[in-house]
């Protein structure tokens, strides 16, 4: 099933999601492999059929991405839940008349533009003005709330 959601904004407009259900040519960035890579989560010591999972912190890998920044997790046993708390940062739009922006939060975006679900705040600059909006998506269900302030 192809479910492509592009987080699209237009200059001077209220944030609007353009939902494109049709398949599109997705570009797999060079980071995709790293993004999808599954960490070896288990360092098993086996003896006599008994194995023990290493319970210490797992070392991170570090790599570049052409579209994402943050910590990406692909649990070996499947993804069931995630949560994070953050304060909305102060976004500086004062020196830029170009469109700039991103979303902050929890995001499942295996390839560029192919977002499957997220719990986020959109933040973007347009003509020097900042727009922020609470936004979620899960499957085909997309919702936007109100703007949020830094802090």
């Amino acid at each position: 099933m192809s479910r492509t959601r592009r987080r699209t904004i237009t200059r001077g407009a209220v944030a609007t999601a353009v939902v494109g259900a049709t398949a599109m040519a997705l570009v797999a960035p060079s980071s995709a492999a790293a993004h999808h890579s599954t960490m070896a989560r288990t360092a098993a010591a086996s003896h006599g059929g008994v194995s023990a999972r290493w319970s210490g912190p797992h070392a991170n890998t570090v790599g570049p991405s052409s579209y994402l920044a943050g910590h990406s997790v692909t649990p070996a046993d499947g993804l069931s839940s995630a949560s994070a708390t953050f304060k909305m940062p102060t976004v500086d739009c004062s020196n830029d008349n170009d469109l700039r922006g991103q979303i902050f939060g929890l995001i499942d975006e295996p390839t560029l533009g192919d977002t499957e679900s997220y719990a986020s705040v959109w933040a973007y600059c347009s003509s020097g003005a900042l727009t922020t909006v609470m936004t979620t998506q899960a499957a085909n269900d997309f919702h936007q709330g109100v703007s949020v302030s830094p802090g």
Binding site: G63, D77, F86, K87, Q102, F104, S120
Partner: protein, 108 residues
């Protein structure tokens, strides 16, 4: 802000809460087997992928995946780069194992 994601055999649900002002936005639907979650930032689009807006830094705290602290979840630390320039950097997980800082470095 508190962001949450949950997925069962029948439902995937995402929620963002503004706990300061008591606001909440939620989506839910059938799962499609999401296997990966990013704690950080992703782009917006306006015809093309937008460059990130300057934001200083974001401190993600109380980060858990499948109930485990981020530091125990085996994360890949992704830094946003364009044309060889570092734009946004994800710092390592802090000593408490459940927090990290996302730092804006340069405009594209």
């Amino acid at each position: 802000m508190v962001a949450t994601f949950s997925q069962t055999a029948s439902t995937v649900r995402t929620t963002i809460r503004d706990i300061t002002h008591g606001l909440v936005v939620t989506s839910s639907g059938p799962p499609s087997g999401e296997t990966n979650i990013l704690i950080g930032q992703a782009p917006l689009f306006a015809g093309t992928q937008l460059p990130p807006a300057p934001f200083g830094h974001v401190n993600f705290t109380q980060v858990t995946v499948n109930g485990d602290y981020l530091g125990y979840a085996g994360s890949n630390q992704l830094n946003l780069k364009a044309n060889g320039h570092l734009l946004v950097q994800a710092l390592p997980v802090l000593a408490n194992h459940n927090a990290y800082n996302l730092v804006f470095k340069a405009a594209a």
